[in-house]
């Protein structure tokens, strides 16, 4: 039997997921013994055309990280789907949009204006914007088209499994690889490499009663070391975030950001966290409640930091406020 063929791809993401693969450490050696890496732009020089030349389904496993931000991302997602037996949305970006997905709170127009005109370091007096086709003396230059909306991988192609995390922790990555190599596969569409509970389940901090009379950002107070951060008014997404990370952040006194996405019983992580927080505000005075809530900066960005394109609303609606 020939060795399984494995591909890694990096779409709209920071690249952390690539590093996360290397995070498996020494286990990379047995891995490279066990599989044949047929495509990994970050590490191996194989061109897109080489992939196009492959048979459909020739790749046994493709770990695809990054969101779908532009036409190139989408094209590669379709191509790799076609060539792979198993396509895994690897990491938060591919799974649910993650940080790039926050762009959905803006329009493409706003983003381009910001990036190419408004930023203080930009010097672009002629207001030149990037174009998908640019004619230069040497010929035509093509750039991928930036989409108005960031998509998750499964919004453009069929996905077999999801590995959450920004980035996924190494042990979970290894476990997924191991499971695939051993043919020990769960039901299609499953989230793998994560727990079924929430971060709190792994969190070592002590929990008593949650009544919030004010929110603080981590730099604003010095939290009690062993007490649940949320109880101390520090927004911690652990209550609405899938376990799997071993509660790395709260274990060291930093609040959970929610990168493992919603737990299995939840679809919209942000809405659920809003619901939970709204339940434990320690005030019955509507004005005071509003004041407490205003201490939360940019709720959409905070509660959907990792999951905006994968949420119910997915992106900002632009033409509802008028008059």
């Amino acid at each position: 039997m020939s060795k399984p063929k494995v591909a890694f791809y990096w779409a709209a993401s920071c690249g952390g997921c690539e590093i996360a693969i290397l995070d498996i450490g020494d286990r990379i050696l047995p891995l490279s013994e066990a599989v044949e890496i047929v495509f990994w732009p970050c590490a191996i020089d194989i061109k897109y055309d080489d992939v196009r030349a492959m048979e459909d389904g020739e790749i046994d496993l493709c770990l695809f990280n990054g969101a779908i931000r532009n036409s190139e991302n989408e094209e590669m997602a379709e191509l790799l789907r076609q060539k792979s037996k198993l396509l895994v949305a690897y990491g938060s970006c591919a799974y649910e949009g993650c940080i790039p997905g926050l762009a959905n709170l803006k329009t493409r127009k706003e983003i381009l204006r910001r990036s190419y005109i408004e930023v203080p370091s930009m010097d672009n007096p002629e207001s030149i914007y990037p174009r998908t086709r640019t004619e230069v003396p040497e010929g035509i230059l093509e750039l991928p088209e930036l989409y108005d909306t960031v998509y998750t991988l499964d919004q453009v192609v069929d996905v077999d499994y999801y590995v959450p995390g920004c980035p996924p922790v190494a042990d979970q990555t290894w476990a997924v690889l191991e499971a695939v190599l051993e043919g020990n596969l769960p039901e299609k569409g499953s989230v793998v490499g994560a727990g079924t509970k929430i971060v709190c389940d792994d969190c070592p901090l002590e929990k008593k009663e949650t009544k919030i009379s004010g929110f603080f950002r981590p730099h604003q107070i010095m939290p009690e070391p062993d007490i649940c951060l949320l109880e101390q008014g520090i927004y911690c997404a652990g209550i609405g975030t899938r376990a799997g990370c071993e509660a790395l952040c709260p274990s060291v006194g930093m609040p959970c950001r929610g990168c493992y996405g919603p737990p299995p019983g939840v679809f919209d992580q942000g809405a659920k966290i809003v619901s939970a927080l709204g339940s434990v505000i320690d005030s019955e005075d509507p004005d005071e409640v509003d004041r407490i809530m205003e201490q939360i900066p940019c709720p959409a960005g905070l509660f959907y930091r990792f999951s905006l394109p994968h949420s119910i609303l997915r992106r900002k609606t632009t033409d509802d406020y008028k008059e």
Binding site: C200, K208, K272
Partner: protein
């Protein structure tokens, strides 16, 4: 897939006139999961219910939906019918297409379309409904009665007589309420105290009744069958266990305090009992009027009390009690004369309210039953009674009829004539309302035989002129205005709920209606119950009513309590919260959220569980559970989402 039957009721024309019920049935048949649909003229009638039962069997239905009136009316009816036909009652749902559709819309097309959406919404819920069993809950067989007027006394006696314990809480130092203030009672004219006092004594002595006078409800938690009540026993500064009621302290007290019991027509000391027949007959010190408390000097009462019952150091005590049912009988107050600007805003000395006049008529009152006016103590020769003072006036005061005034004013005029034979009473009224046994006859007798002049018209203005009190009225029957320069004017001021009612209902979490009176569960069929289970209503706190009606309602409420206590246990709606053990990550937010302490951390399972007996099914923990481990039975998030979709016309 579940086989659901949809039964669409015409409710005569109540639904069918506005909603095309046949189309609703037809459209229902097209819905996923619906195996049978039919309309019928009166679904709640016996033939209607028979139809439902037969079709459950014939069509092998797993669940049914009755599209009819509000579930508040017939949910239990149809659930019982479903059970008879072998269905689990929780497989029966009601789609409200009457109160919330046919009755509120007139466009037939739109109403029909809405009715279809309503049914579709309920179909979605029903598809995912589980079969449930009611949850048994134990009952603490002890009642709390709040308010020691005739309503509270009667209710307490009835419950106590049936063998159950009662705690009767009264905020004043004696029970008796307003009835103790009355002179004689219509329509039989028996003396109020004569018929009340024996009942007060009986309540005071009953082995099953624990009187807690001079006490107020501080906190109530729990639920029907198992309430926890915290009661504040206000400091009386008199050790009642020592006091033998000799009364010397009251005699010696140099302070003068307007008597609330005598409607400010007399005074008593700062240490006082409200009236001589008080039960318990123990004094209290009014801290705000006591010279010692105000100046730090006096303590005369302490000096004269040989047994040393005075204790200036006493503080409010708190007691906690567990009870299974609560009767609210907090009674009424009357609209202050000062609120009635056109009647002198309280500045006319010879203008008093009906309760004050009761004190003037009372043999135990400040004038020993002689009618003497407050300004100079003269016997009034001409006296004007003004009805509907603040009642039946939706624009400025109270919109409702205070119900008792027609009768008590007639009684006042009649008793006045009995005391002052050559006096002339006039009564201004808008309508005379004498609905009650013997009432119309009482009124006729007064009108025909007692030379009481009834004037049909609302009094516009009252003012003082010399030693007279001038009344400007009209007589719509002659079409002439009427002026009377009277010696005394008595206002039948509007009956209003006690000020404290609003605060109390918040503690009890029961409802009041638009005028602040306690709201009954159903105006006709459940008049002595609050909509909140375990709370019962008695007396004028629920609405203006006279003594017979109050007593009847009190006995009715007591009977409801006794019927509750006669059960071994209660069956609680099982549509409660539950936890998926595989998902719960023990963030414990739900513990903080639950108002009933129904959530606790299970050390063994390392999850938070639901105590089903305590859970009231509000669902707030379900919404608060960010990990999605908590769901509500038969109202899960997936049910709600599909209901939302269906309500918007999606599938």
């Amino acid at each position: 897939m579940k086989r659901i039957g949809v039964f669409v009721c015409h409710c005569g024309i109540n639904i069918a006139e506005t909603v095309d019920v046949k189309r609703v049935a037809e459209e229902s048949m097209k819905m996923d999961g619906v195996a049978y649909a039919q309309d019928y003229i009166y679904m709640c009638s016996e033939p209607g219910q028979t139809l439902v039962r037969e079709k459950i069997v014939e069509e092998k239905l797993d669940a049914i939906i009755i599209a009819a009136c509000s579930p508040n009316l017939h949910e239990s009816t149809f659930r019982a019918a479903a059970e008879e036909a072998g269905l689990n009652p929780w497989q029966c749902e009601i789609a409200n297409i009457r109160e919330q559709c046919s009755w509120v819309h007139s466009d037939r097309e739109k109403a029909t379309s809405k009715a279809i959406h309503i049914v579709a919404t309920i179909v979605q819920k029903t598809r995912l409904n589980e079969s449930l069993e009611p949850i048994p809950v134990s009952i603490t067989k002890k009642a709390l009665v709040i308010g020691g007027g005739i309503a509270g006394i009667q209710a307490s006696l009835d419950i106590a007589d049936s063998g159950y314990k009662v705690i009767l809480v009264e905020k004043d130092s004696s029970i008796g309420g307003h009835m103790a203030q009355l002179s004689e009672t219509f329509p039989t004219l028996d003396c109020s105290q004569c018929i009340l006092t024996p009942k007060m004594v009986a309540a005071g002595k009953h082995p099953n009744i624990e009187l807690m006078t001079y006490s107020e409800i501080e906190e109530v938690s729990g639920y029907v069958g198992n309430f926890k009540v915290k009661i504040r026993r206000k400091a009386s500064f008199v050790d009642w266990s020592k006091c033998n009621g000799c009364g010397l302290c009251m005699e010696k007290c140099p302070a003068k305090v307007s008597s609330a019991f005598d409607r400010e027509l007399a005074t008593h000391g700062a240490i006082y009992v409200p009236f001589p027949q008080a039960v318990p007959n123990k004094p209290v010190i009014d801290k705000d009027s006591c010279i010692y408390f105000k100046t730090g000097k006096c303590r005369l009462c302490e000096k004269v009390c040989e047994i040393g019952a005075i204790n200036f150091e006493q503080e409010d005590q708190f007691v906690e009690e567990e009870v299974g049912a609560i009767i609210v009988a907090t009674g009424f107050e009357t609209l202050p004369v000062a609120d009635l600007a056109e009647y002198g805003a309280g500045d006319v000395p010879d203008l008093i309210d009906g309760l004050a006049f009761e004190r003037l008529l009372s043999a135990s009152g400040p004038t020993v039953g002689e009618v003497r006016r407050p300004s100079d103590g003269k016997v009034p020769k001409e006296i004007v009674f003004v009805q509907c003072a603040g009642s039946r006036d939706p624009e400025r005061y109270k919109p409702y009829c205070s119900k008792i005034c027609c009768m008590y004013t007639t009684k006042h005029a009649l008793l006045y004539k009995h005391r002052v034979h050559d006096g002339q009473p006039y009564i201004f009224y808008i309508d005379i309302r004498t609905g009650g046994k013997g009432y119309e006859e009482f009124y006729h007798n007064a009108e025909e035989e007692e030379n009481i002049i009834y004037l049909r018209g609302k009094v516009a203005k009252i003012f003082r002129d010399g030693d007279k009190t001038v009344v400007w009225g009209t007589d719509t029957l002659t079409g002439r205005n009427i002026e009377i320069a009277a010696d005394l004017v008595v206002l039948a001021t509007a009956v209003v709920p006690k000020d404290s009612t609003a605060e109390l209902v918040k503690k009890l979490r029961i409802q009041t209606g638009p005028n602040g009176f306690l709201a009954e569960a159903h105006p006709k069929l459940r008049p002595v119950e609050s909509i909140n289970s375990g709370f019962f209503l008695a007396g004028a706190a629920q609405g203006p009513k006279d003594i017979p009606e109050t007593v009847a309602q009190a006995s009715g409420a007591a009977c409801k309590v006794i019927s509750l206590f006669s059960r071994d246990h209660l069956e609680q709606d099982p549509a409660v919260a539950w936890v998926d053990e595989d998902l719960c990550g023990s963030c414990r937010i739900c513990i903080s959220v639950c108002p009933y302490d129904a959530r606790e951390y299970d050390e063994e399972k390392e999850i938070v569980i639901v105590n089903e007996a305590l859970c009231e099914g509000c669902g707030s923990c379900v919404a608060a559970c960010a990990c999605g481990a908590t769901q509500q039975r038969n109202l899960s998030d997936s049910q709600i989402k599909s209901m939302v979709t269906a309500s918007l016309g999606g599938v």
